[in-house]
């Protein structure tokens, strides 16, 4: 009896499998046209965490809620000067001279603004015809309400830094009634506790508003898990249609939108595809339209793909570097003593290391034309601040050897340099899963071996690696930075090692501190240029780290997309203006 049951079970299962395969072969006869004709499909590495501007932290979050929500101002990147520009309906911070306007204007909620004479307050005049998608007008109160959310420690918004200049912030407690005034529905005033440059004031006061009528009754403690997060009420060119966690986010063009208009493409779908190879394969077959961060080794395959793929690049915001501990990390960890690192403590040695690393070879071998040898951490894209006169050190192992000898590092019996009985040997750490850094680290190891330095390589899981970096447990490492468009490097170089959270090298130079403060205090960004020029000269001379190369970000687009304008601000900068080319959607 029992046996019969088990045999029957197997029969049922096998029948299921037969049905499954039969069903599939039936479908295989289909022509394979997807519903993609009106849907733009973007492959993403990971899901958004929140589609809420107050707490959304991942890049995907930002990309998506940026399409759902309206903005006080629009920002644009002026490629001729490298400055971030802010645009209201009737006013621009500065005239830009880019030949083509990539984005249809008219998206800003602010008509105009006025900075007070004393630079301690800024007053916006808002347009009166903007509405949330439920028909409620967008008013100045929505902005004030949003700022109380951004500033609430219980909500823990990652954008609290934007409130750092508001009245009361210096005393640790922002008084929102004083800091943000709303005399009427279309007037919005921000008051600062100190003089603030107009550029920074615009940047920090243009956080996304939130619909007060929807959210006002949500207690801060429940803000992060409120069901309202699943149904964001916005006013942007798109609305959220469907969000299947870890699978896809579907947006539909918002017919109500007048900021400036509904999105051109009817549906935009963000699909989560964690594996890079699979994202690539889907771009090649036409199953997805956009894949970000294509690796250079895959360009050729993509350009020959059937689906028609175009690679576009933008930059330069990202660089790789080799970090050298300027100070003896062990001594510092033990009792806060600052003394030079036994190997990398001298600027001359660090210069020698930079001279010995053949950065051009790394570029030729991996990034090709998508990389530029770096001199410091000011990007060549930020033309207004970039110092052309500071040229990257050439690859010159002979000069490197001379500098090392001068510092007393003489070759030992095994060919490894020594000084006072100490060998020049160390471990270069990097994080796992980065093919580019793996490639570079091998070349660096070889380059250093040639001048008598023993460099071992070690790859650590990213979490472990960054924790070790923060705890100052490693002496030499390779990592990268993505820079902001506002220059603010003090976190990485400031002499106060407790305050400068990202000064992993322990570099200290009071002149750098002073230059950063001077630059920040200038009320007009362009006036800070001389400070930044000197800053680059000093960093170049001191080489607290070996700046390797700037990396162009490379994105793959299906050729059926038209009007995409890649921008240093974002890949999806003008996505609501994209269209599908009519011929491509008929093909296949």
């Amino acid at each position: 009896m029992n046996r019969k049951i088990s045999m029957k079970g197997i029969a049922v299962i096998s029948a299921m499998v037969v049905i499954m395969f039969a069903g599939c072969s039936g479908k295989g006869g289909n022509d394979g046209v997807t519903a993609g004709d009106s849907t733009l499909v973007i492959a993403m590495l990971g899901d958004a965490n929140y589609l809420n501007p107050v707490i959304g932290a991942s890049v995907t979050s930002r990309n998506v809620y940026g399409l759902l929500y309206p903005g006080l101002l629009e920002s644009e990147f002026d490629t001729t000067s490298g400055l971030l520009n802010f645009v209201a309906l009737e006013k621009k911070l500065r005239e830009t001279f880019t030949d083509a306007m990539p984005k249809k204007p008219g998206g800003a909620l602010a008509k105009t603004w006025k900075m007070s004479e004393d630079h301690r307050s800024i007053t916006y005049t808002l347009r009166s015809d903007a509405r949330w998608n439920d028909g409620t007008p967008i008013t100045s109160h929505d902005f004030k309400f949003a700022y109380t959310l951004y500033g609430n420690p219980l909500i823990a918004s990652p954008r609290q830094q934007f409130l750092a200049e508001l009245a009361g912030a210096d005393k640790g407690e922002i008084d929102f009634d004083k800091a943000i005034e709303t005399p009427d529905d279309t007037t919005l005033v921000f008051n600062f506790y100190k003089q603030v440059p107009e550029q920074l004031a615009l940047f920090h006061t243009s956080l996304t508003p939130m619909p007060k009528h929807k959210w006002k009754d949500v207690p801060p403690r429940e803000f992060r898990h409120s069901p309202l997060n699943q149904k964001p009420l916005g006013a942007g060119p798109y609305v959220l249609r469907d969000w299947q966690k870890q699978q896809q986010i579907v947006l539909a063009s918002n017919p109500m939108c007048n900021l400036p208009k509904p999105g051109n493409i009817p549906r935009v779908m963000f699909r989560i595809v964690p594996d890079y190879t699979v994202r690539l394969a889907q771009l090649q077959t036409g199953a997805v339209d956009v894949v970000e961060n294509i690796k250079p080794e895959d360009f050729e395959g993509l350009e020959n793909a059937k689906a028609g793929v175009e690679i576009k690049s933008v930059g330069l915001r990202v660089y790789d570097y080799v970090g050298w501990s300027n100070i003896d990390q062990e001594a510092y960890r033990r009792d806060g003593t600052i003394k030079p690192h036994p190997l990398f403590g001298s600027a001359k040695v660090r210069r020698a290391l930079t001279l010995a690393i053949d950065r051009q070879s790394i570029l030729d071998g991996y990034l090709g034309e998508y990389g530029v040898v770096a001199s410091t951490d000011i990007s060549p894209s930020l033309k207004w601040a970039y110092n052309d006169a500071v040229l990257p050190y050439p690859y010159d192992p002979a000069e490197a050897v001379r500098l090392l000898e001068e510092e007393g590092w003489k070759p030992g019996p095994d060919g490894i340099r020594e000084k006072d009985g100490k060998k020049f040997g160390f471990v270069l750490f990097t994080n796992a899963g980065n093919a580019r850094r793996n490639f570079a680290s091998v070349i660096i190891q070889q380059n250093l071996r040639e001048i008598g330095i023993d460099c071992q390589l070690d790859v650590q899981e990213s979490n472990v690696f960054f924790e070790n970096l923060r705890l100052r447990k490693i002496d030499a490492w390779m990592a990268g930075w993505s820079i902001g468009l506002e220059i603010d490097p003090l976190d990485g170089w400031g002499s106060d090692l407790e305050k400068s959270r990202f000064n992993f090298t322990g570099y200290q130079n009071p002149r750098i501190d002073a230059l950063c403060e001077l630059a920040k205090a200038e009320l007009n960004s362009l006036d800070a240029r001389p400070y930044w020029l000197e800053y680059q000269e000093i960093l170049h001379r001191d080489q607290p780290t070996t700046f390797l190369y700037w990396i162009k970000e490379t994105q793959g687009f299906s050729r059926r997309i038209e009007g995409e304008e890649l921008n240093i601000l974002s890949t999806f900068y003008n996505i609501d203006d994209w269209t599908f080319s009519p011929s491509a959607s008929v093909a296949e």
Binding site: A35, N49, Y50, L154, V278, A281, T285, A287, N463, N468
Partner: protein, 321 residues
């Protein structure tokens, strides 16, 4: 038998509990910080601390454990750190069906393929067919599954374009209607299930072959043949049934392997299942989610083993529990 099952389940409770406690401490020993996402330039240093406060990570470890224990005993495993503070069981409720579907289909495909190949190999022992199948099985058994998966994608999704490369459904599948939707879903499952089951089936085939060879030499098989029964009846009715007894225990035992196999299959094929939830939770140091996942997979494994033991008794009258 009921007493046996009840006793086993009772023993399982402290076992699961011990595993959870161990997990609780081990993941906190791992370097890394659940709030690490918020430690970056441009984000105020206060944020990471506020986030830790929200997560209750600023308490001493022992207090955290007591608090955790209290809520777990009330059935509350907390809210996920990394997934928008959803209750962890909501996260799992979305992910588990996906993995269960893959696991059950794989289990079925595993055994059907494995038994089929094993029987043929045994019946045709030492023939070219047997050799071919044996070498073939060994070939697939030794292949790393993630590599095999990528190869399948390159061949069937990229070159031949027969199967989709990833996802649970086609773009726009919501408008298909239930039957086409189901077909589309199954269509997307073919590659992953094939990858997962070929490897397992190869192992089972070896097992069945051995067990079958042993049974075929038994006296009662000779008797069956002597009675003049057809070869088909002898093999399927008399030999196979007995040969399958040891194989059935494999069923429960293979569950954990299928689960761990589903792990990277889900990453590669972009399925939002338990495997991906677990991997991402570990990378994000999402403690509550890691613990809840351990709880679910641990429980499933214990149940799987219990089912295997009970099944064994059910199919083999010689065994009394």
């Amino acid at each position: 038998m009921l007493v046996y099952i009840a006793r086993r389940l009772l023993v399982a409770i402290p076992l699961v509990f011990g595993v959870l406690t161990l997990t609780f401490f081990i993941i906190r020993l791992a370097p890394g910080d659940p709030a690490a996402l918020f430690i970056q330039p441009g984000i105020s240093p206060k944020v990471a601390d506020q986030i830790r406060e929200q997560y209750g990570l600023n308490d001493p470890l022992f207090i955290q454990y007591i608090k955790w224990l209290g809520s777990v005993l009330q059935g509350d495993f907390g809210r996920s750190f990394s997934r928008a503070q959803q209750p962890v069981f909501d996260v799992i409720a979305q992910a588990l069906p996906v993995t269960m579907t893959i696991a059950l289909l794989t289990l079925a495909a595993n055994f059907i393929l494995g038994i089929f190949i094993g029987v043929i190999s045994a019946v045709r022992q030492n023939s070219y067919l047997d050799r071919f199948l044996t070498v073939g099985a060994l070939f697939f058994y030794s292949m790393p599954e993630f590599w095999f998966a990528l190869m399948m994608i390159i061949v069937f999704a990229l070159k031949l374009q027969i199967f989709p490369a990833s996802g649970l459904n086609e773009v726009g599948a919501e408008s298909y209607g239930p039957f086409r939707f189901l077909l589309d879903r199954l269509w997307h499952l073919v590659l992953p299930v094939t990858v997962l089951s070929i490897n397992g089936a190869a192992g089972i085939a070896r097992y069945v072959r051995g067990s079958m060879l042993e049974v075929i030499r038994q006296d009662y098989i000779r008797t069956a043949r002597a009675k003049g029964l057809s070869e088909k009846v002898v093999i399927v009715r008399h030999a196979l049934r007995n040969a399958l007894l040891p194989v059935i225990t494999l069923m429960g035992g293979s569950l954990p392997f299928i689960f761990s196999g589903a792990l990277f299959i889900e990453v590669i094929f972009a399925f939002p299942g338990m495997g991906r939830v677990t991997v991402e939770a570990i990378f994000a140091r999402d403690y509550p989610l890691i613990i809840a996942n351990t709880f679910i997979s641990g429980t499933l494994i214990i149940i799987g083993n219990l089912v295997a033991d009970v099944l064994y008794a059910v199919v083999d009258p010689r065994i009394k529990l």
